[in-house]
């Protein structure tokens, strides 16, 4: 670096740019790994457990179907999502995008209802 002008020479820049790029790439991949916590909702005995799940925006929620019949995870209002059919022993995941309370149901079994509270 030219100490008087405070600017980098072309030769120095060639050394620094790859270094900065590698730092940026590492930061991005690291940010992806720690984007949010992971939560699991178990679907069993025709219920979502837990019935109310507290999460933060960016968290990942995984629903695991331990019943012998298929289910869905379908938002009733607010942030919209719909898993489609989740077969027995199957799972489906969703990353929370917005703050708020999201009630959801299984469209096959209307008595099954639960909610996500995203802060």
């Amino acid at each position: 670096m030219d100490r008087e002008s405070g600017s980098y020479s072309w030769h120095e820049a060639r050394k620094i740019v790859p270094l900065l790029l590698s730092i940026a790439i590492v930061s991005v991949s690291h940010a992806d790994e720690v984007a949010g916590a992971k939560h699991t909702v178990v679907i069993e005995n025709m219920q979502f457990q837990p019935k109310v799940l507290q999460v933060k925006v960016g968290d990942l929620i995984v629903w695991k179907n331990r019943d012998v019949v298929p289910h869905t995870v379908t938002a009733s209002s607010g942030d919209t999502f719909n898993s489609g059919k989740i077969e027995p022993d199957g799972s489906w995941s969703y990353r929370v995008r917005k703050k708020g309370t999201i009630p959801y149901v299984c469209t096959y079994h209307p008595t099954m209802a639960a909610q996500i509270v995203a802060k």
Binding site: N45, M46, V68, P70, H109, T111
Partner: protein, 174 residues
């Protein structure tokens, strides 16, 4: 007056006898397996008919769900029967369920439109309540094999959900 009392007593016996029978009947595991398969098959057949005949989307969706869920429950039962290497043994209850199912189908085939929907859903409410009572009072208490008992406990909430679902449709179509 005496004749009236005798008629009332006879009517009460007809109403109470099947319940008493269900509560006191002692069943072995192969008989229980036959009852589970019969109970599911009866509802699958009624569901298939309703999928074809009903024009109401709620009733059609419910019927489709009955076919899917009871087929899944039957698969659990038949897989377990194969695993345990036993043959389901027909008995008075499994035969009665099948006969009741046939009678219901014959009745439903003669009905159309809203009359069909009402008869189908009314029967689904009664049927699921009856099966649930049998599961609680007869099948689970009598099951000896732990896996069979666990399967019955595991599928019980499905019958509870179906009963509530049928009641919801029944109430919304009144």
């Amino acid at each position: 007056m005496n004749r009236m009392i005798r008629l009332l007593a006879a009517a009460l016996f007809v109403l109470i006898a099947p319940v008493a029978f269900a509560q006191s009947e002692t069943l072995n595991d192969t008989q229980i397996a036959a009852i589970v398969v019969a109970a599911n098959s009866v509802d699958i057949d009624a569901g298939k008919l309703a999928e074809k005949k009903s024009t109401n989307k709620d009733v059609q969706a419910f019927a489709r769900q009955m076919v899917t869920d009871h087929t899944a429950v039957n698969k659990q039962a038949t897989d377990l029967v194969k695993k345990l290497n036993v043959t389901p043994q027909e008995n008075a209850t499994s035969k009665s369920l099948k006969e009741g199912g046939e009678t219901n189908l014959a009745k439903l085939r003669k009905l159309q439109g809203k009359d069909f929907d009402k008869a189908y859903i009314d029967n689904e409410v009664t049927y699921h309540q009856t099966v649930l009572d049998a599961v609680d009072k007869t099948l689970i208490p009598n099951a000896k094999n732990a896996e069979l008992k666990n399967t019955l406990v595991k599928v019980r909430p499905i019958f509870v959900d179906h009963l509530e679902h049928a009641k919801q449709i029944q109430a919304s179509h009144k």
